[in-house]
């Protein structure tokens, strides 16, 4: 800290920050080149990359939900994955009742929004300002509760949900399943819509202001409490998108199908920076591709996937707790 007193040291600190940003972009650029070359060399590599990106988009969407909530209320929502799982079951039920897939999809998003908003209003608001531990434990309680409710209503058995995409097409000799292209498209589309909402609308501006400086936002007439509740609603919508799109890639619907995804979403959020929405999505894609390639080429270490993801997470937390994009986030949304 004391080094910052001299202007020279300040300059040096800024230089390091700039150097860090350049390193991050070089790293990402290098990764992209590596993937591109790999895809051109081998069709198997290309297929693994595409399916990895698709699954990674789902992780990214869930990670974005976590980041939105963290930024707004400084709560890490351990129930985010289970909420996504529960909303996927709702979509399943709606389809069983005769709705088409996309009707059920839209209805589920609306239900998820209401559910997320209600949760914030009823159980999170009272503990939000108390302590990190209290908020974490409430979200853990929600985790168990949602799990229990889903098991109660639908049972723990395996269900089959129809996939909205089938077939495949050929791209330069690489066989790409519609499923993966569709996942990637829908998830990234929804993420873009949420981004546009935050970036270009008055409501989004109010939500950002409420998250950044609640007291000052209130003085400008922003109803901060409502903004935070809406933030939870939007996070639940992103989670629902992640759940519904992730499910077909897992083939089966079970009450535990989002738990591993939540783990990877945590890793993605930390990788990108807990305060960085863009970083969460990039982090999700990176982890999706990385794990898919790992499982594809080194099947003997499959059981180490989770510990590995977390060794990475731990390393990032220690070396750069703000994540890859953490610094940039300070001045930009």
């Amino acid at each position: 800290m004391e080094t910052l007193t001299s202007p020279l040291a300040g300059l040096r600190a800024r230089g390091i920050a700039l150097g860090g940003a350049i390193t991050v972009y070089l790293l990402l650029g290098g990764g992209a080149v590596f993937l591109l070359v790999g895809c051109l060399q081998s069709t198997r590599f290309a297929q693994l990359t595409v399916s990895g990106l698709a699954v990674g988009a789902a992780y990214g969407s869930l990670a974005l939900a976590l980041v939105l909530i963290y930024r707004a209320t400084h709560v890490i929502n351990f129930a985010q994955g289970e909420l996504a799982m529960a909303t996927t079951y709702i979509a399943y039920q709606l389809i069983q009742w005769g709705l088409s897939y996309w009707e059920a999809f839209a209805a589920t998003l609306a239900i998820a929004f209401v559910l997320g908003t209600a949760l914030e209003l009823v159980v999170i608001r009272p503990v939000q300002h108390r302590s990190v531990i209290a908020a974490v434990i409430v979200s853990v309680g929600l985790f168990i509760l949602i799990d229990g409710v889903v098991n109660w209503i639908w049972g723990g058995g395996i269900r089959f949900m129809q996939s909205p995409f089938s077939g495949s097409y050929d791209l330069g000799g690489v066989n790409i399943q519609h499923l993966y292209a569709g996942m990637l498209g829908v998830v990234l589309g929804c993420v873009l819509l949420v981004w546009a909402l935050f970036r270009f609308t008055k409501l989004g501006l109010g939500m950002r202001a409420a998250a950044l400086r609640p007291a000052a936002a209130a003085l400008a007439g922003v109803r901060v409490d409502w903004m935070l509740a809406l933030g939870w609603g939007l996070a639940a919508v992103l989670g629902a998108v992640a759940g519904m799109m992730y499910e077909p890639s897992q083939l089966l619907l079970t009450p535990t199908f989002m738990q591993e995804a939540l783990v990877y979403a945590f890793a993605a959020a930390v990788l990108g920076g807990l305060e960085s929405p863009g970083g969460a999505v990039v982090g999700g894609l990176a982890i999706g591709v990385f794990l898919n390639l790992l499982a594809g080429y080194l099947p003997q270490v499959v059981s180490l996937e989770v510990p590995f993801a977390f060794a990475v997470l731990l390393a990032i937390l220690l070396v750069k707790p703000s994540g890859l994009f953490g610094r940039r986030e300070v001045s930009r949304v």
């Binding site: 409430v138 929600l142 509760l145 799990d147 731990l314 937390l317």
Partner: protein
């Protein structure tokens, strides 16, 4: 636990109650109360960490797993006495706790929660990879198995010994340093307290407690150490127990241990919901409600009641 030994009367009451219970309860209920004893040890340990150094851990199930596997492997390969394995688990987890505590120094709040969550998820995966030594999904079977009553006695003896140990640690220099660190890190550093030393130490002690709880836990599952038994839920249960307990009261820790040890079992057969699913619904709901109603846990409730009585 807070400086002076809590009123001897209440300790004696608890001790007598625990000594008499096995003679009046059915075998099933004895194993339930033994379960509470196991959680008492783990919650006591986590209470030292969160309550006295202000750090959070969602990863203490990992230390329970390490302790449990230590005991099972030693028993399988060398037929070691279970008490000796307990000491071993205590030592190993203490050292590993120190090792985890070091990087944890750089993290706080939400970040520490995530890192320890990572630990809880990762450790149970390790036996799957090194399956010849650690038994894979099938788990490790200890050489010796023990009766419910034996576990009951062991669990509550450990509870008593470790409670005494915690009291001895916390009443002296170390305890004062812990409290100073919790209340204000900056002030503690300014008054010459080696911050990193004490925070790491708190991590090590609480991990060692979890290790002993892990040994007992494996004994209670017929001497089987299995990866699925040490899932994330276990870590969450310990954390919930510590939160329900609140800070530094014997009764609080008992309440927290009973909450996570008994509630899931008791609520398996809830009327309307029925069957197994009732368990999670009731447990989850209770966790949320208790956190909303008792912000400072059971210990906070007791303190408030005491203030009411006095007033």
């Amino acid at each position: 636990m807070r400086g002076r030994l809590p009123a001897l009367g209440s300790i004696a009451a608890v001790a007598v109650l625990i000594a008499v219970l096995p003679f009046t309860l059915s075998s099933y209920n004895v194993s339930l109360v033994a379960q509470v004893g196991i959680f008492f040890v783990a919650v006591l340990g986590l209470n030292i960490l969160t309550g006295y150094s202000g750090q959070i851990s969602i990863g203490h199930g990992a230390f329970m797993a390490i302790g449990g596997y230590t005991s099972a492997v030693m028993s399988r390969d060398h037929h070691t006495n279970l008490i000796v394995t307990m000491l071993m688990a205590f030592a190993i987890c203490f050292v590993l706790g120190l090792l985890v505590g070091l990087p944890a120094l750089r993290l706080s709040g939400a970040y520490l929660a995530l890192a320890t969550f990572a630990l809880a998820i990762s450790v149970p995966q390790l036996p799957l990879q090194w399956s010849t030594f650690l038994g894979g999904t099938g788990g490790v079977q200890s050489h010796t198995t023990v009766s419910d009553r034996w576990i009951y006695g062991a669990a509550w003896s450990c509870s008593a010994i470790l409670f005494l140990l915690a009291w001895l640690i916390l009443r002296g220099r170390v305890g004062r340093a812990f409290r100073a660190v919790r209340d204000s890190e900056i002030a503690a550093t300014a008054s010459g307290i080696e911050l990193s030393l004490y925070k790491t130490l708190a991590f090590g002690i609480s991990a060692a407690y979890a290790g002993v709880a892990g040994v007992l836990f494996v004994m209670a599952t017929n001497g089987f150490a299995q990866p699925t038994e040490f899932g994330i839920i276990l870590s969450l249960q310990i954390l919930i127990g510590a939160a329900v307990a609140g800070l530094g009261s014997l009764w609080g820790i008992l309440a927290g241990a009973a909450f996570v040890g008994l509630l899931p079992q008791v609520s398996t057969s809830v009327p309307v919901i029925g069957s197994d699913h009732g368990r999670d619904v009731v447990f989850g709901l209770m966790v949320v409600l208790v956190m909303l109603a008792l912000p400072d846990g059971f210990a906070g409730l007791l303190a408030r009641l005491r203030a009411l009585v006095r007033a």
